[in-house]
Symmetry: C2
Subunit: 254 residues, 2 copies
């Protein structure tokens, strides 16, 4: 059941069998949540950490004018807000995109496992820091890239993140987001998202239909949007190139 979690943690840090055993023992109560439902709502007092076992969810806020902004996608294995219970109240909501299997892990369970399993602790830390790095890259996306690169970048990111948890086969993965979801993620109108996706399709970069996306030419798509995977801090995957930013290193060489 928590293949996804173990797999994710191991993409950051090698674990022992003992570590894995402790993680498996974690499963307390799996919540089945239907699509388009809140896991936790802005203003609630958090005392648990959320772990998505299966399905997609997102963090979002709704502004006074009804505008929704999505700030993160949560995919299987995402295990975040490592210490949200320190804060007094949620400043955003988490809602499902698809039906999800989720676990609410109480604070005590976290403290217990981290006390005895330093590798797990380290891997969880890694997760939390990567989450923040992803947030920063999304900010770059919204602030510095035009619509077509923005969406291409998102598709690249999801490819790598989902591959790290074994949810990609031959460059295809589940893509249950509506165009309005993408619009609210990218700070675009849904009309423009539609036109932009068409553009990516016409360029032969991606195929997107029936809630599934296929990256037709990964290298070209990455080059197209200037995708640099360093912010995902992945290890043990085919993408884990540890080079620094090409144009910052010596003489455009490397």
């Amino acid at each position: 059941m928590q293949d996804a979690l173990t797999r994710k943690l191991e993409s950051f840090e090698e674990l022992t069998n003992e570590d894995r055993g402790a993680l498996n023992a974690l499963t307390l109560k799996v919540r089945q949540v239907r699509a388009r439902t809140d896991l936790i709502h802005e203003g609630d007092a958090p005392d648990t950490v959320h772990l998505i076992l299966d399905g997609y969810a997102c963090r979002y806020k709704v502004l006074a004018d009804g505008q929704r902004q999505i700030m993160a996608y949560l995919v299987p294995g995402d295990f975040c807000d490592l210490n949200v219970f320190i804060l007094d109240q949620m400043d955003h909501s988490i809602g499902t995109i698809t039906a999800c299997q989720a676990v609410d892990i109480p604070r005590q369970a976290i403290e217990a496992i981290t006390a005895d399993h330093p590798r797990v602790t380290r891997a969880l830390w890694w997760c939390a820091l990567v989450d923040e790095a992803v947030l920063r890259e999304w900010l770059v996306n919204l602030g510095s890239r035009p619509a077509n690169h923005r969406i291409a970048h998102l598709l690249c990111e999801l490819l790598l993140r989902l591959e790290a948890v074994g949810r990609v086969t031959s460059n295809s993965y589940d893509f249950p987001f509506t165009q309005s979801d993408i619009a609210d993620t990218m700070g675009l109108s849904n009309v423009h998202v539609n036109r932009t996706i068409r553009e990516l399709r016409e360029l032969g970069l991606v195929a997107l239909k029936h809630r599934t996306v296929t990256i037709l030419d990964v290298e070209r798509l990455k080059a197209y949007c200037g995708f640099n995977p360093n912010y995902l801090h992945l290890r043990n995957t085919r993408w884990s190139n540890r080079r620094s930013v090409p144009w910052l290193s010596s003489g455009h060489g490397g």
Copy 2:
């Protein structure tokens, strides 16, 4: 010297004299850094945590086309990347805006103080989580607000953050950012930033000159851009209203 830090932590969590003593004992080597200089650079391997004692700095990335995106402002007392040394390499740079007094606190010092001072640990946690919350709000800013509200929102945020560290007098604070800095922060052109600031000035909301900003009507500015301070998770300040989002609490049901 580290008034700023103690003050900041205490805006989140009450400390004992003993805690304060431990914090004061932290001062190892204060770095004097001139303006417009990198504290740490993308690609470097981090093994210390940065604390700004005085001056302003920022996190940023530079894209292949030379476009700079600023992702955070660091003001006196900002003490962040609590555990960046877990990651292998920096995925962004930190550079000063003004001359700064900064401290690089080695990993060991962090681990030592947090081992014995749970209140401090908790306050540091709080800091890290607030940092992430600010990042999320910036994403909302870029994704969902027009230029004028965006900049107004930034000015509101800085007012509250700086006030929490005692750097605001009669709604004025130091504002050493160039219009290009703001442009690279807000995903706008510097020309448009200029026009937008003029607009805010003409509306009588702010006065901005000689590297100092004065908020002429705080309540009106907050209303203007729909500012909700909940994401800063401040305590012990005149802004710490703990209510949830007004338009979510009543009316639209629960």
